[in-house]
C-alpha cells in the first residue's frame, strides 16, 4: 500500500529535477528547508528524525538536493520527506512537506478492532512493518 502523506503524495514520485524546482520555489519565498526520515510512517507520527538541521542560509537548490541524495544513501529504505518552514509570522511554520524517498516494498497498515463493553468498537491502525525492531523494518 502506497503511503500518501504530505503534498504531491497522490502523484507519481517526483524526479530529482522536479524536487529541485519545488525547493527552488521554497527558497525564492525565503523558507528554510529541512530533511527528515523515518521507518515508522504512522499518520500520527509527526516526529520524524531530522537529517541535519534545517538549512537556513542556503541560496540554491543544488545544495539541498545534495543533502537529499546523501540522506538516501544513508537510509535507502526509509521514508524521507522535505519540509519548508516559513518564519515570516515570527515562528517557524510548516508551509510545504513532501515525500522524496520511500521503501521499495510498502506492506501498509492493518486495522485492529478492539471490542469494548456494549457493542463499542475501538479502531487502531498499525503499520505491518512496525512489528519489527527499528532499522529492520522495510
Amino acid at each position: 500500500m502506497r503511503l500518501t502523506q504530505g503534498t504531491f503524495s497522490f502523484l507519481p514520485d517526483l524526479t530529482d529535477e522536479q524536487i529541485s524546482s519545488q525547493i527552488e520555489y521554497c527558497l525564492e519565498k525565503g523558507w528554510a528547508v529541512s530533511i527528515e526520515y523515518t521507518d515508522d510512517p504512522h499518520p500520527r507520527n509527526t516526529y520524524w528524525e531530522m537529517f541535519g538541521l534545517p538549512m537556513f542560509d542556503i541560496k540554491d537548490a543544488a545544495a539541498i538536493l545534495g543533502e537529499i541524495r546523501s540522506c538516501r544513501r544513508t537510509f535507502p529504505r526509509h521514508y524521507i520527506k522535505v519540509n519548508a518552514l516559513d518564519s515570516s509570522l515570527g515562528r517557524e511554520s510548516l508551509r510545504l512537506s513532501f515525500i522524496v524517498n520511500r521503501p521499495e516494498n510498502e506492506p501498509g497498515f492493518g486495522l485492529v478492532r478492539q471490542e469494548g463493553p456494549g457493542r463499542t468498537v475501538r479502531y487502531t491502525t498499525r503499520a505491518y512493518a512496525a512489528d519489527r525492531p527499528e532499522n529492520q523494518r522495510y
Binding site: 504531491f8 514520485d13 524526479t15 529535477e17 524546482s21 541560496k59 543533502e67
Partner: protein
C-alpha cells in the same frame, strides 16, 4: 532547461506533474531548448522537438539577446586597466555564447570549468574583481544565482579532528549556485605543521570543484609568490583551476584614473592644481616601501579628505560654498608626508 541541470528520472516517475511553481531561471533566455528526453524538460513545459537547425546560425542575434555587450562595456568603464583580466572575461563570455549556440543545434558538451585563481600584488583589484565576478557570470548565464560567498581559512578549517569536514561542507552548501571566493587561499595549506587540518579542507574543495562544476565556481585569491608556493605543493588544486589570472601592477596614469573614479564615487573632485599634485604624489609614493597600488590611493584620498575637512574647519569664519565642500585642493595633498623631505612615511 539547461542540460547541466537535468537529473536522471527516478523509477516510477513517468506521469506528468503540475507545473512546479518555480520556473527554472536558466535556459529561459535561450529560446530553443536542448533536445533531450521528455523527462528532462522543465515541469509543465511541453517537451520540445529536437531542433533541427539547418543553414546559418546567428551568433550576432544570440550576442544581442544576452546583453553581454552591456556587461563588458560596464566592466571597461568601471575597472581601470586590468587588461589580462578583461580579456579573459571576454574569452569566457565568447565561450559561453558559443556553448549556448552549440546546445541549440544539439551539440552537447559538459559545462566548462570556470574555477579561477587571482594572483597579484596588494591592491591590484583581486577582491574587487571577484566580487563582480558573481554578477558577471550570472549575466552570462553560467551561475544560477547572483551571490558570492567570501570566506577565508577560518571559515573552512576546523579547530579539532573531525571539525573541518562538516565546516567546509557547510560553506560549500551555502555557496552552491553562485561563486565561492576564498581570499588569501594560501593560508589553507601550512607545510610547517604536518597535522594541520587545512589539507582536509583542500581535499573536500577539490572533490566539489571536480564533481559539481555546474553548481559552483570557486575563485582563489592571494599574493603571487605565496600562491605559487601553494599551487606547487597542491598540484591537484592547480590543475583543476582553468583560469590562472595574474593581476598586473597599475601604471601611474591608471592610478590617477582610479583616484578620479574613487573621488567621483565619494562625490568629491580634484581642483585643477590638485590633479597635477596628486600625479606627483603617486610618482613619489610608488618609490616608497609598502606601496599597495589602488589601496594606497584610497588611503591617500581618505587622508586628503581629512585634511580638507580640517582646512575648512580652520577657516570657518568665512562663508562656504557647495563648491568648497566637494573640492580637494592641492594643499590637502601637499601636506602629505610623502612630500616632506626625509620624514618617515606611514606605511599603508
Amino acid at each position: 532547461m539547461d542540460a547541466a541541470f537535468t537529473a536522471k528520472p527516478r523509477p516510477g516517475a513517468a506521469g506528468p506533474i503540475p507545473p512546479g511553481p518555480a520556473a527554472p531561471e536558466r535556459g529561459a533566455a535561450t529560446g530553443t531548448a536542448a533536445p533531450g528526453p521528455a523527462a528532462s524538460a522543465p515541469p509543465g513545459a511541453a517537451a520540445p522537438e529536437p531542433a533541427v537547425v539547418t543553414g546559418e546560425l546567428d551568433l550576432q542575434a544570440v550576442f544581442r539577446d544576452s546583453h553581454i555587450g552591456d556587461v563588458l562595456d560596464e566592466l571597461d568603464t568601471q575597472l581601470v586597466g586590468l587588461v589580462p583580466v578583461k580579456s579573459r572575461i571576454r574569452d569566457i563570455a565568447a565561450l559561453l555564447l558559443v556553448e549556448k549556440l552549440r546546445r541549440s543545434v544539439g551539440l552537447e558538451t559538459g559545462p566548462p570549468s570556470l574555477h579561477m585563481s587571482f594572483t597579484g600584488n596588494p591592491g591590484t583589484g583581486k577582491t574587487t574583481v571577484a566580487l563582480r565576478m558573481a554578477e558577471i557570470l550570472h549575466r552570462l548565464g553560467y551561475v544560477r544565482k547572483v551571490h558570492l560567498t567570501a570566506v577565508t581559512r577560518d571559515d573552512l578549517v576546523g579547530q579539532y579532528i573531525g571539525h573541518t569536514a562538516p565546516k567546509t561542507r557547510e560553506v560549500l552548501k551555502r555557496a552552491m549556485g553562485g561563486v565561492l571566493f576564498i581570499d588569501e587561499a594560501y593560508y589553507l595549506y601550512r607545510p610547517e605543521n604536518e597535522r594541520d587540518y587545512g589539507q582536509e579542507a583542500i581535499e573536500i574543495l577539490l572533490q566539489v570543484m571536480e564533481n559539481q562544476r555546474e553548481d559552483l565556481v570557486v575563485i582563489l585569491a592571494g599574493y603571487k609568490d605565496r600562491m605559487d608556493t601553494f599551487f606547487r605543493s597542491n598540484p591537484g588544486m592547480s590543475s583543476r583551476i582553468a583560469h590562472h589570472i595574474d593581476f598586473p601592477d597599475y601604471t601611474p596614469a591608471e592610478l590617477l584614473a582610479i583616484a578620479r573614479l574613487m573621488l567621483a564615487g565619494m562625490q568629491y573632485r580634484f581642483s585643477e592644481h590638485a590633479d597635477e599634485v596628486f600625479q606627483a604624489y603617486i610618482e613619489r609614493r610608488r618609490e616608497q616601501p609598502h606601496f599597495a597600488n589602488a589601496r594606497s590611493v584610497r588611503n591617500a584620498l581618505d587622508r586628503a579628505r581629512l585634511r580638507q575637512a580640517s582646512r575648512l574647519f580652520a577657516a570657518r569664519g568665512g562663508g562656504l560654498a557647495r563648491e568648497d565642500l566637494l573640492t580637494i585642493d592641492a594643499a590637502d595633498i601637499l601636506a602629505s608626508r610623502v612630500f616632506g623631505a626625509g620624514a618617515p612615511e606611514n606605511p599603508s
